[in-house]
Subunit: 386 residues, 2 copies
């Protein structure tokens, strides 16, 4: 085995995004034990920093020791008991994943299918509920597979009508788009660190409301996952400091530093930055003659889905970008495989230089396939920034 020397990539796919250099440096700080008093103090800062980032006062707010999908599984297996009815919006790959994990938790799942590339309307969920009671309603805030942002605030009234807890997948939105856990009445939220937080992958911020904790306390069956059992994990992150598993120390250093940078920039400023660069990208794509999958009002700022033009080889374009520019963008998932590209402008990667680079590179890649651009994208981009 030889030491690995990865090439420097411009990471403009659906994540991982580029880590901020300060965050990478934080990974190398000296390891502390997971019960060291100084590490315990750091954990408290991470919890406080996450609460601010999630706009919540929830007591339970900390990173789970796994990736975003572990966060999804954590929220579902803790808040669902076998036989519970769950109403789940499925308008993309990650909605489908929610439904699958809920089924494996023993829930009776009612899937509410939505068009891939459109936001879910509360009315569609209401119709599917058919007046029945549900233990849980789950939707994806930023659907990473389609680039859609579904409004969460209107889901609260629906969840109240059904007597349900409201769960939201915020993997792609935390730190990159407005997210108001308390104001929107979200009961269970999870995210990941490798997207708009610009930290390495490996942790899943999770928060549960007081209402969700009541459900947890009233469970009649043990949580099927011991590793993700919030009643046990919160005893470590909370005042008891009871050993549960060895925390990923280095990743928590990195998350702490990422949160520090987030709050230094300011949460609203961070959201605005993601919006500004997304809008500039959209202007450039339109000028090139490329079409976004999602109507503008429903688009996610951190991630844009672009339709692959007819007669263009989707994979060949991504290969061209990787080989000629060392630039990564994403392809489609599931039903959208081969049909879209996904361009992420997330965290440290959400910046003007990347917008202009990806447009310039896409233009070259498409020209190499004989596709004729409608026009020069850069004047439109420059105008968007003006």
């Amino acid at each position: 085995m030889k030491p690995f020397s990865p090439p420097a990539r411009v990471l403009l796919g659906p994540g991982p995004s580029e880590c901020a250099p300060e965050v990478l440096a934080a990974l190398t700080r000296p390891t502390l034990g997971h019960l060291d008093p100084q590490f315990l103090a750091l954990m408290d800062e991470v919890r406080a920093g996450l609460r601010t980032a999630l706009r919540t006062q929830n007591e339970l707010c900390f990173p789970v020791s796994g990736t975003g999908t572990a966060g999804m599984e954590t929220v579902l297996v803790n808040l669902l008991e076998p036989g519970d009815a769950a109403l789940i919006g499925v308008a993309g790959y990650f909605g489908a994943r929610l439904a699958e994990i809920a089924r494996r938790a023993g829930a009776k799942v009612t899937e509410v299918p939505g068009e891939w590339g459109r936001a879910l309307a509360p009315e569609a969920l209401r119709r599917a509920a058919g007046g029945k009671r549900f233990a849980l309603v789950a939707v994806v805030h930023g659907e990473t597979s389609t680039g859609v942002c579904t409004e969460l605030a209107p889901m609260r009234a629906l969840a109240d009508e059904l007597g349900a807890l409201l769960v939201a997948d915020c993997v792609t939105t935390l730190g990159g788009a407005r997210l108001e856990v308390d104001a929107w009445g979200l009961d269970g939220v999870y995210s990941g660190t490798q997207k708009c937080l610009a930290a390495p992958c490996g942790l899943a911020p999770v928060t549960l409301s007081a209402r969700a904790l009541e459900k947890l306390a009233a469970r009649k069956t043990p949580v099927q996952s011991w590793y993700l059992d919030m009643a046990l994990v919160k005893a470590y992150w909370g005042e008891q400091r009871a050993y549960h598993h060895t925390a990923p120390i280095q990743n928590i250093y990195a998350l702490h530093e990422a949160l520090r940078l987030l709050h230094e920039e300011g949460l609203e400023a961070r959201w605005k930055r993601h919006e500004t660069h997304a809008r500039a990208l959209w202007a450039g794509l339109a000028a090139l003659g490329l079409e976004c999958l999602v109507p503008e009002a429903e688009r996610l700022f951190p991630l844009t889905a672009v339709r692959v033009p007819a007669a263009v080889d989707e994979l060949a374009v991504r290969r061209f970008l990787l080989e000629r520019y060392s630039l990564e963008i994403g392809g489609g998932l599931g039903a959208l495989k081969g049909k879209i590209w996904r361009i992420g402008l997330m965290g440290a990667g959400s910046k003007r230089a990347n917008v202009e680079l990806v447009l310039s590179a896409l233009r070259a890649a498409l020209a190499a396939q004989g596709w004729k651009a409608a026009g020069d994208p850069l004047p439109a981009v420059h105008a968007a920034y003006a």
Copy 2:
């Protein structure tokens, strides 16, 4: 929030251990996408390196995206179906955890209690089995809570008699004590990265035998955890490269580097190093007049449990070491809380300087409590190294 500046600690507890400096540096390599061709090639090197470290030819051999406990849960929830009978040796905290996780997987668990501080005898498991058939037998190789090493090779015949798969917890032994997955006939093995591999916490190497994969393929029920479902995760780590979840790229860089260092040193040499420093520590402890919990023949090399002498305040000693020496050792867990210290000499931390430092520091801490040492430990240690 301010940047966090942890103090440099000498980590001689039950883990995390000190990361090798090359491994910490590897964490900061440029992030690649989880489907980048260069990252996929790295994954193959990690699988090969782990196979060598585990002495196995198993096709399924890769790190799960979580800590050692996630590895434990992975092996159990994949190899057990609801109603399966599991025979589990419980002679420590981690044996008890195995039993609890197996119960949450729906298994009918027969616990075989053993003395905390002694190895489990196959005969005790055989008696408890009472001639019945079992789907799975699970034991802990290196019981981190007691410092005991249980021989695994004799468990194979027992598992065969019962028609069972054989699972072993190797969190504390991988890279620090002889471990022969294929020669010993182990079907499911998991470990962690933050002990004898000297890498950051956050990944759990897992391997499953062909027999275990047959059981997986013949399951009648889905694995309750989608995140840890090996049939899905192996499609990403294997030839299909099917996206499942975003791999923790930086942690995998670190594991790759840790495996590179392991193979550069040589596996047998690494085991021998852990043995040499453990034996020197034991000689010093005996000279001081401190007693080990475990009979010498059953002791784990990477981790030594030391009885707290009568009238000594266990916690005050650990505080003294942390405050005066910035040195961490562990306390006892569960039934051994307050009764033992746990001294880890793991990975990069398994070295002569640490042996002499911890003995010298312990001597000072005990003297501060008015405890009289039997004698000077250092001549015994020097003799052990001679």
